[in-house]
């Protein structure tokens, strides 16, 4: 294992929801260029971990470092700005917008022409808009959806929507791409394509953190794996090490071992429920913008 400074270093992360210890003293370290898998049975806290490091849910405790610099994951948009982009377990696209527009929104955070320039249609505006279209199309091409650019996003197949989401996240030029169960609900063919896409993303030198239930996918893809069970870290290391770890086997066989064997049909950790749960305390706060 390289001793270079990790891209993401997180430790002592704890989060309680009421009486439930969603996360207890969890930590991990991801080297740049790695694909790091986060696995564990249902309810292990994987999505909560994602939500915590990206700022969607505040942690009770934790230390967070991105590229050696500490960050406080309090504002979601700032975390994205700093370089962590994510996809969601239940795909969250801008459904009524075109495929291209979805990815163009991803470019927002790395562009800066202001609205007054848009009003005046300055040449700086025109240049940047052209660049945005170019970059977005390049990304769509990368994920294989360039020909779908002008279709309404929600009319595409589930597998394609997932790829739009990934393209959109890549548009933000993330240091870390965090994928929450990208293979959920996919059939075998789609999974192969997804794996191939992630390999290509890795080949570009990107760092990926991936939650997955499909163990085959994870083991074949990941350089390092972290295993959670009931909010606690139970194993961490190379896939082969983790696979034969007795605690891991216990965790999976002890609970619903369908998660270990069968392809995962129904997303287990419901991140939307989590976000909504949190908002029960906040009442009138909008859990999600236009969606309901």
């Amino acid at each position: 294992m390289s001793t270079a400074r990790p891209l993401l270093k997180v430790n002592h992360v704890s989060k309680r929801f009421g009486g439930v210890h969603a996360l207890e003293n969890v930590g991990l370290s991801i080297q740049a260029g790695d694909v790091h898998g986060l696995i564990g049975p249902n309810g292990a806290g994987k999505t909560t971990f994602f939500n915590v490091i990206t700022g969607l849910v505040p942690a009770d405790r934790g230390h967070f470092e991105l590229e050696g610099r500490a960050y406080k994951p309090t504002a979601v948009h700032q975390v994205a700005r700093a370089g962590i982009a994510r996809t969601f377990q239940n795909i969250r696209l801008f459904g009524d917008m075109s495929v291209l527009d979805n990815v163009r929104v991803g470019r927002h955070v790395r562009t800066q022409v202001g609205w007054w320039q848009a009003l005046l249609r300055t040449s700086a505006f025109a240049r940047e808009e052209a660049a945005i279209v170019r970059d977005a199309m390049a990304l769509l091409d990368f994920v294989g959806l360039a020909d779908q650019a002008h279709r309404t996003a929600r009319t595409l197949s589930y597998g394609d929507q997932r790829r739009i989401e990934i393209a959109r996240a890549l548009a933000t030029e993330p240091r870390l791409l965090a994928l929450d169960e990208p293979a959920a609900g996919m059939n075998a063919t789609e999974k192969v394509a997804l794996r191939e896409l992630i390999e290509r993303i890795r080949a570009q030198g990107r760092t990926v953190l991936i939650i997955e239930h499909d163990v085959k996918l994870v083991m074949g893809l990941c350089d390092q794996v972290t295993v959670l069970d009931q909010g606690q870290l139970i194993a961490q290391g190379r896939p082969e090490q983790v696979q034969s770890d007795s605690r891991v086997i216990d965790a999976y066989l002890g609970s619903a071992h369908a998660a270990y064997e069968a392809p995962h049909e129904q997303p287990a950790d419901d991140d939307d429920a989590e976000i909504e749960d949190d908002d029960e305390d906040e009442g009138a706060r909008a859990p999600e913008g236009g969606r309901s």
């Binding site: 429920a273 029960e280 305390d281 906040e282 009442g283 009138a284 706060r285 309901s292």
Partner: protein
């Protein structure tokens, strides 16, 4: 309302110690107003708890209740029946009409939009509100109509303040009705079905509850309460008109949010508190602001409370109870 408030425009701006009788008077006014707010707030909160919709048209149900009651008592004016009987008959008529109206509205305007984008039912609700006001204006004509005095109106003295029979009845009847509602919600099958649907409609359905029926029942109960509040309002303030439901409706909604939307106890607490705040505020605002702001600003109290609550404690005083909509 004006008759019960002392005219603070006439009071010097220098701070005078608060006389107890004025204070008690405002408390009484506040409780009366708050009772009516509570009744209407319950309708808002029950509907919101069950289908996540702010029924903008709910205030108009109060108005319809008041106007129907007025029509009935006007028709019965020469019948020779004692005042309280007339009132009672008109109340039954109001409740009946309002219940039917509300169920019809739910069925025709809201139910088809259960799965529509968020904005659509809100617009429809506003349309229904406008429609009811306009129809009322057409049917009853735009003028303010005096509501006859049907109950003996001698004032009783309470610690230097006055209260009359109507006001006493308002407070008492509200308390009784609330008791009945508690029994309904906690002790009957319908009540259980309502609670279950409010908490988790899908699971409730699996248990054999028919959501459409429960929702219709919720609208009916809310309408009955609002109709009752409408009759009370008419009897207390002595006049009815097609615009009378709008502001009380808004304020009652504020009360529901104040107490915690979806929370029945919250609606009551919110309603009574809002009534008290408005009354005391209107009474003392002249003193508090050195004469700059007069009692005509009292309508703003409700909105100010609303904005403060939603900014500082959006779940309301007693906490929200909204269904899991995922």
């Amino acid at each position: 309302m004006a008759g019960f408030l002392h005219d603070h425009a006439a009071t010097p701006a220098a701070f005078t110690p608060i006389p107890v009788d004025i204070f008690i008077q405002q408390i009484i006014n506040g409780l009366v107003l708050g009772s009516m707010y509570a009744l209407v707030a319950l309708g808002y909160t029950m509907v919101y708890g069950i289908i996540n919709l702010i029924n903008f048209a709910h205030g108009e149900v109060l108005m319809v209740g008041a106007l129907v009651s007025w029509t009935v008592v006007t028709l019965l004016a020469d019948s020779g029946l004692p005042g309280w009987v007339q009132l009672l008959i008109s109340l039954i008529a109001s409740v009946g009409v309002c219940m039917a109206l509300n169920v019809a509205i739910e069925r025709l305007a809201y139910r088809p939009l259960r799965n529509a984008p968020r904005l659509a039912p809100l617009i429809t609700a506003m349309g229904v509100s406008l429609l009811l006001q306009t129809l009322a204006m057409i049917i009853w004509k735009p003028d303010y109509k005096p509501y006859p005095i049907l109950l003996p109106d001698e004032p009783y003295e309470v610690m230097g303040a006055t209260i009359n029979l109507v006001q006493i009845l308002i407070i008492v009847v509200t308390a009784v009705v609330l008791g009945a509602l508690v029994f309904l919600i906690n002790g009957t099958r319908l009540g259980r079905a309502m609670r279950a649907t409010a908490e988790n409609p899908r699971v409730a359905q699996l248990m054999g509850v028919q959501p459409d029926k429960v929702i219709a029942a919720t609208f009916m109960i809310g309408a009955a309460l609002a109709a009752l509040a409408g009759v009370m309002w008419a009897a207390n303030y002595g006049s009815v008109q097609h615009t009378m439901g709008f502001l009380p409706g808004l304020k009652a909604f504020t009360a529901a949010v104040f107490g915690g939307i979806g929370n029945l106890a919250g609606a009551v607490v919110g309603g009574v508190l809002l009534g008290l705040i408005e009354s005391l505020g209107a009474g003392y605002i002249g003193d508090l602001t050195g004469g700059v702001l007069g009692s005509h600003y009292q309508d703003i109290f409700a909105f100010t409370v609303l904005i403060l609550v939603l900014t500082l404690r959006p779940q309301g005083l007693l906490g929200e109870r909204v269904a899991d909509r995922a």
